[in-house]
């Protein structure tokens, strides 16, 4: 599989996981008292501030045969997901997660409480009010978070290298290809891959600016 195609697939699946997990987590964090939620989100935000190698190390344990996710994978498929595209998805998701969480949480927090209370008074259950009022009113910030998460997942390098390796055709994403080509002196290919990633980055930033700008 070409690095570009693999990267797009990995980033898309990683973003999907980030949103499916991140949105309920962001909503749940709003329902616990602030000091407690600040503590609860520390492990989720940690990948933002520690080197990717640290996140990679943690994921090696988590996905390895002694880790909980690794054990589940062994019981289901007979092997750990390490050094597969699946591991690259998990690594990208872990690194991109905090960006989405922060953006979505801030947007959800910005929605006036009165609007949510009013939706409840007008007959909505909490879940229905979340779906019909809370998420739609926070959609700009949530979309900005999606774009940031996708951009970060596409460019993930360090943690991915540790848990998925750099196996051409199997786990070699575009970000890894830049490094791979440079390592063997294929400067032209390295530059081409780098330009592609930079181009996607510009698009992501433009989308973020558009959605966040409209929110403000």
């Amino acid at each position: 599989m070409s690095p570009l195609w693999l990267s797009l697939q990995v980033a898309t699946f990683a973003t999907l996981i980030v949103v499916l997990v991140g949105l309920p987590v962001a909503l749940a964090l709003l329902r616990v008292p602030k000091p407690l939620s600040r503590i609860l989100e520390v492990p989720l935000l940690l990948p933002l501030v520690v080197p990717p190698s640290v996140t990679g190390l943690a994921l090696l344990w988590l996905l390895g045969q002694h880790g909980p996710l690794g054990a589940i994978s062994i019981s289901l498929f007979g092997e750990t997901p390490l050094f597969t595209a699946g591991a690259a998805v998990v690594a990208s998701a872990a690194i991109a997660f905090p960006l989405f969480l922060r953006s979505a949480r801030a947007a959800l927090e910005d929605v006036p409480q009165r609007q949510l209370q009013l939706a409840r008074v007008l007959g909505d259950s909490w879940l229905r009010a979340t779906w019909r009022v809370h998420i739609p009113l926070a959609r700009r910030g949530i979309l900005a978070g999606v774009a940031l998460a996708f951009g970060r997942a596409l460019g993930e390098f360090g943690a991915t290298l540790m848990v998925a390796g750099n196996i051409p055709g199997r786990t070699e994403t575009l970000a890894l290809a830049v490094y791979g080509h440079w390592l063997v002196g294929e400067d032209a290919q390295a530059w081409a891959a780098a330009a592609l990633l930079a181009g996607v980055g510009v698009v992501v930033l433009a989308l973020v600016a558009r959605w966040e700008g409209a929110r403000a």
Partner: protein, 341 residues
């Protein structure tokens, strides 16, 4: 019917209650009081958006512990608070029991031509009409309105007042306002809120005519409140003495207390009229005259201080100017006893 007992809630640093009141089914209750004294907070508490203690009986059921979505309450909050991501039609239909009701409600409330518009494009008055239609679409047992005329211009007031008046008797309504004229025009029952408590509640006539305290009388716009002592006089009359002045009051009262005199009940005359026992004549002199849209307000001073409301032309006819000696005439039946059971 709505019956509220021992209702308490805490909102931020504000303490609401304990609040008690009861009004029959179909009552139109106006809640008045200064800003920041808990009128809106009471509505949000009744609606269930705020955690509270106590009972809230609507009809036969106590909904005090129920989640807001099960209380069958319609609420048009202050500033309308339409959902900005939805069209007018979707706003009205938001909590509708029957989506076929959206159009007729929009017609009744004068917003049928706006159904496709986005909420943020409406004027304040239009938004409030939509908010009321949205609240009614729930076919609520209790309708809560917070300053529904607050953002309506003069021209839009009369039709909306007529719409609101038409709600009387159809369901129980609680309408928060700071405008006493609005309350007097609409309400069958009146409640006065002060510092998170309901300090007066009763039929509008009861509260307006027999306010339970001087502060409430003054808040309700009764400018003339006199302090003195009552002595019973016959079956159902009293003499009220304040300083040198003695007034006939057509109500039985005893001991220290207050009487109030509506400004419009103070008539001015150049000479003392023929003594009739049912009238009180008070010699006073004019301190000043101020004019407004409704006519003129005359400040009088003598043994007591009084304000009188006159037509504009009466000021010239009587030659009222500062220092002018005049006799204020008040019918005994117009003197109201304040703050006595």
């Amino acid at each position: 019917m709505i019956a509220v007992r021992a209702l308490r809630a805490t909102l931020g640093g504000f303490t609401l209650g304990p609040i008690e009141f009861e009004a029959p089914a179909g009552a139109y209750v106006a809640l008045v009081g200064p800003s920041g004294h808990g009128k809106s907070s009471l509505l949000w508490t009744l609606a269930g958006a705020v955690e509270s203690r106590g009972s809230i009986r609507i009809g036969d059921v106590d909904v005090g512990a129920w989640p807001p979505n099960e209380r069958r309450i319609g609420f048009a909050p202050q500033g309308a608070q339409l959902f900005p991501h939805l069209s007018v039609a979707a706003n009205i239909g938001f909590g509708a029991r029957d989506s076929l009701q959206v159009k007729p409600l929009a017609e009744t409330w004068g917003v049928a031509q706006l159904l496709d518009r986005r909420a943020p494009t409406l004027s304040g008055g239009e938004a409030m009409r939509v908010a009321i239609a949205r609240a009614l679409a729930r076919d609520p047992a209790l309708l809560l309105l917070d300053e529904p005329l607050g953002s309506i211009d003069e021209a839009g007031r009369a039709p909306l007042l007529a719409n609101l008046r038409a709600l009387r008797g159809t369901r129980t309504v609680i309408h928060v306002t700071h405008d006493l004229d609005e309350a007097a025009a609409l309400a069958t029952h009146l409640g006065v809120m002060r510092q998170g408590k309901l300090v007066a509640f009763g039929t509008t006539d009861d509260v307006m005519l027999r306010p339970p305290s001087v502060e409430i009388a003054q808040f309700l716009g009764v400018e003339n409140v006199l302090a003195g002592t009552f002595t019973p006089h016959g079956e159902d009359a009293s003499l009220f003495r304040t300083g040198e002045l003695e007034l006939n009051v057509l109500a039985r009262a005893n001991g220290a207390g207050y009487v109030s005199v509506p400004e419009r009940a103070v008539m001015l005359s150049l000479e003392a009229p023929q003594q009739v026992s049912a009238r009180n004549s008070i010699p006073l002199s004019v301190v000043g005259v101020t004019f407004d849209r409704a006519g003129a307000r005359v400040e009088l001073q003598g043994t007591v201080k009084l304000f009188a409301r006159l037509e504009r032309e009466s000021v010239g006819a009587l030659g009222l100017e500062p220092g002018k000696k005049i006799v204020a005439v008040v019918k005994a039946a117009q003197l109201r006893v304040v703050g006595q059971p």
